[in-house]
């Protein structure tokens, strides 16, 4: 049953990551991977919210492990970073690492605080 919930969340998270990336990358000319940054920060915020609100095991499997886990990605983030560095955009590569880590952690802590407050 838990595996089914994880699968359902993942079936929504993966296409949403792809659609978000396409939507965002089509709206700027920069080589900076804003699309992946957006899904990573949004997923970190939502997972923080779920952890803070002490979501039950079923919601955690569906929305946490399945949806947030799949919406966010480390492989694309790392690949894009290395590609930027090797393509001569060292500054963008470092900026991408800093932005993902700082904004991701910030979003997680913010989500956690909101979740804790809403859970009372």
């Amino acid at each position: 049953m838990t595996f089914l919930l994880v699968a359902l969340g993942a079936a929504l998270g993966a296409p949403l990551r792809y659609l978000t990336d396409r939507f965002i990358q089509a709206r700027h000319d920069s080589v900076f991977p804003w699309g992946t940054l957006t899904v990573n920060v949004a997923g970190s915020l939502l997972l923080g919210l779920l952890v803070g609100a002490r979501a039950g095991p079923a919601i955690m499997a569906l929305a946490g492990v399945g949806f947030c886990g799949t919406l966010t990605t480390y492989s694309t983030f790392s690949y894009e970073t290395l590609r930027l560095a090797q393509g001569g955009s060292r500054f963008y590569a470092i900026a991408n690492i800093v932005a993902n880590v700082v904004a991701g952690l910030g979003a997680a802590f913010l989500g956690l605080a909101i979740g804790l407050a809403s859970a009372g």
Binding site: R17, Y18, Y74, S75, S78, Q86, G104
Partner: protein
């Protein structure tokens, strides 16, 4: 190029960088088959990640080995995949969305990584949090590079081997 396979091989040793597309998700327009294979791949990747996380639990404040291993192996595989889709499987249109965006994108995770760091900080294990943060970052970048480099060399070695075999017949 075919007449100088050795020269090409020597060149490739000096430069085994990423020659693949800039972005893994930069695949043909969002048609339904593309979305379907991405969703299916995401399910496969997420279930593999979940299975590993269940099999390798960590105590609060301990090093999150499962997510570390998932992210590093996923990065090794995306490095290999992005070489293969350019060098070997260039005709297979749905392969990159399925394996790259779906399976590996869903297998690796950024949100759990960030929450692992936050949980370690909360458990007063700041050193573990920092070590995990840095080890995943550096390990992931090295893994993408290593996956691409090893695959590039293997593909070229196999091509050379089959070329010289063809010459003998």
């Amino acid at each position: 190029m075919r007449s100088h396979p050795q020269a090409a091989a020597r060149q490739s040793v000096g430069r085994v960088g990423l020659r693949g597309p800039r972005r893994p998700a930069d695949v043909p327009a969002g048609t339904w088959p593309v979305l379907a294979v991405i969703a299916a791949g995401g399910v496969v990747g997420a279930l593999a990640r979940y299975g590993i996380q269940l099999g390798l639990p960590h105590r609060p404040g301990g090093f999150p080995w499962s997510t570390f291993l998932v992210n590093i192996t996923g990065c090794l595989l995306i490095g290999a995949l992005m070489v293969l889709i350019v060098e070997v499987w260039s005709g297979a249109r749905l392969l990159r969305p399925f394996l790259g965006v779906g399976v590996l994108g869903g297998y690796t995770t950024f949100s759990t990584y960030v929450l692992d760091i936050q949980q370690a900080v909360t458990a007063a294990a700041a050193a573990t949090a920092l070590l995990y943060l840095a080890a995943t970052l550096l390990g992931a970048l090295f893994a993408v590079w290593a996956g691409a480099a090893l695959t590039t060399r293997t593909v070229r070695w196999l091509r050379r081997a089959s070329d010289s075999q063809g010459g003998e017949q």
